[in-house]
């Protein structure tokens, strides 16, 4: 990577971890781009928002073209956009199950594919995908969510090998639950059980996540790819 300011793209930035990651990368001087299906109710100097659905091929391509036109490159992609829905498998609606798999797996595939094409030009790129400890802890009620994150993990590890010749790394940060909208509908007893299964018995923080993302996103991490970093000792 050259000395110019890093160009970072983060998906799912309207709120939660995505928004916190925007603030993190902006605070350390990166040019930050982000997307969500709806416009966020906030603005930040140094941040440019795209109203785009990670499952819409045309919208994703247009977003990459816009980044290419304005910055000429992309250095870091953080695939944060995701959906969760906690429900017993016997009661899980098919539409919800499809939405979880599509967003958490196909959305990551599509954005990663288009981002890697842009990163390839400079033979440099860092892709960090947001997994979940759910894939590891096997909590009841999270079958489809955990399955989607397991699929994300497999995808990331194979994709890492495919893009390694282009100077691109791909890794996974698997956070514990963080106080976000994504878990607000999860019953407290489920959260308590999940935290009890961790080595470090507390919920995660945005800083925990950005610290791990930063590690994989660093130019120095060029010898680290296809790896998963579980937070909280899961």
């Amino acid at each position: 990577m050259n000395d110019e300011r890093e160009v970072v793209l983060i998906t799912g930035t309207r709120k939660g971890i995505g928004k916190a990651l925007v603030e993190h990368f902006v605070s350390r001087g990166a040019i930050v781009e982000g997307c969500s299906r709806q416009q966020p109710d906030w603005e930040l100097e140094g941040y440019h928002h795209h109203q785009a659905d990670v499952l819409d091929e045309v919208q994703v391509r247009d977003m990459m073209q816009s980044i290419s036109d304005r910055h000429g490159r992309l250095d870091v992609l953080v695939n944060n956009a995701g959906v969760a829905s906690m429900n017993h498998s016997l009661l899980m609606p098919m539409a919800t199950a499809s939405r979880i798999l599509e967003t958490n797996v196909l959305g990551v595939f599509l954005v990663s594919r288009e981002a890697a094409r842009l990163m390839k030009r400079n033979k440099y790129g860092r892709i960090v995908n947001l997994g979940s400890v759910a894939a590891q802890l096997r909590i009841e009620g999270e079958a489809m969510y955990a399955a989607s994150k397991s699929a994300l993990l497999s995808f990331s590890q194979v994709f890492a090998r495919e893009v390694a010749p282009f100077g691109i790394t791909c890794n996974v940060v698997a956070p514990t639950p963080v106080e976000t909208d994504l878990i607000k509908s999860v019953p407290q007893d489920k959260i308590d059980r999940l935290v009890a299964a961790l080595a470090v018995k507390r919920l995660g923080t945005f800083d925990d996540v950005s610290n791990a993302v930063e590690f994989f996103a660093s130019p120095r991490s060029d010898y680290i790819t296809g790896q998963v970093l579980y937070l909280g000792g899961a």
Partner: protein, 104 residues
Amino acid sequence: MNRAEMVEIVLDAVRAEMEAVANPTAFSGDIDEATPLLGEGAPIDSLGLVSVIVQVEESLRSVDGIAVTLVDERAMSLRNSPFRSVGALSTYALECAAAAQEGA
């Protein structure tokens, strides 16, 4: 866009890939429409072909504003691979570009 222009886009992509690789295959001579892109005698390897296809798509999009996806189910199901040679890829890309422009 005519065929000669498309052939030049493909040739440029192949030349760029040949120059980019650290250990180029032992290919000698000029490349032209008959140059294979797959298998023995090809000046690039399979990963190089990925790069060539991506580069042709990007050239069409950035220079001519044509958004095409060259690797789709149709391409995969054709009896003769459209990626077997410079000429075949040029013909196929021209068809895809024409279809994209008609659909636009």
